[in-house]
């Protein structure tokens, strides 16, 4: 069951990623990015990160991407024009080099981690809200407070930039 779910959602993630880069209209790219985030949330669930999966959907796909979709609708962004023409040789060479690069990275990664170590759904029980809360408020308390100041800075910056008078 685990490999099936991994392949389905990894396939959806890669397909939506390619769609993000290849689509002309920004709205189609934005919705492809939402698709990537949704399938990544399922993969986080498989790896035992249930709280992070829920946070990904609530914060990333449900708030940040809605902001992107708003801005695209407000600015009435249209489809891009055609990209400048690339010669055939460069295109084929690029694809071959891309495949070689991906092969090299896969080889390096697989030699780093032993193949016998498989992901079993339910093997890692430490991703609950309890564990994350415990670590967040004791070991990582300083970064937590600093990020709250960061969010305050971002709020002030966004309000100042979006005011009516320039």
């Amino acid at each position: 069951m685990t490999p099936l779910i991994f392949f389905i959602f990894a396939g959806i993630a890669v397909f939506c990623g390619i769609n993000l880069v290849a689509q002309r209209h920004p709205i189609a790219s934005a919705l492809s990015l939402v698709g990537v985030m949704g399938s990544l949330a399922i993969l986080y669930l498989q790896l035992g990160g249930e709280f992070i999966a829920a946070a990904q959907v609530i914060v990333y796909a449900g708030a940040i991407m809605v902001l992107f979709v708003f801005v695209i609708m407000l600015l009435n962004a249209g489809a891009e024009g055609a990209a400048p023409r690339v010669s055939g040789i460069v295109r084929y060479l690029g694809l071959i080099l891309l495949a070689a690069f991906l092969g090299l990275i896969s080889f390096v990664i697989q030699s780093m981690l032993p193949r016998t170590e498989g992901v079993v759904f339910g093997a890692f029980q430490g991703g609950t809200a309890l564990e994350i809360g415990r670590k967040l408020f004791t070991v990582y308390l300083l970064p937590f407070e600093v990020t709250s100041v960061l969010i305050l800075i971002a709020i002030v910056g966004a309000i100042v930039l979006a005011r009516k008078e320039i």
Binding site: V14, S29, G118, I151, L161
Partner: protein
């Protein structure tokens, strides 16, 4: 077929998504699409963090991923405000045309 997936496959998926994000960042000309490619790169890094956290059986990777999400939210808010201001002043969203400070 065995009932497990090697962890390295999650990292390879993260590498593929990161590469796609870099490709979008370099080749696209609409500023909003460039920004979304940055978000795709951040998501790939999040997947990498969670996969490593599974390997080491510690929860610190989840916490890093949480902080990455918070920083991405703050960056998206301010970045989109900047894009709105640029659009208000230059009336265009193509990054090739916002080039008045070039030589």
């Amino acid at each position: 077929m065995q009932n497990t997936v090697p962890v390295s496959w999650y990292l390879i998926l993260s590498a593929i998504l990161f590469g796609l994000g870099v490709a979008g960042f370099i080749f696209r000309r609409n500023i909003i699409t460039v920004f979304m490619s940055i978000e795709l790169m951040l998501n790939a890094v999040n997947l990498s963090f969670i996969a490593f956290s599974y390997t080491l059986k510690q929860v610190d990777g989840h916490i890093f991923s949480f902080f990455v999400m918070v920083v991405a939210a703050a960056e998206a808010a301010v970045g989109l405000a900047i894009i709105l201001t640029v659009f208000k002043n230059r009336d265009t969203l193509m990054i090739d045309e916002v080039s008045s400070m070039k030589y």
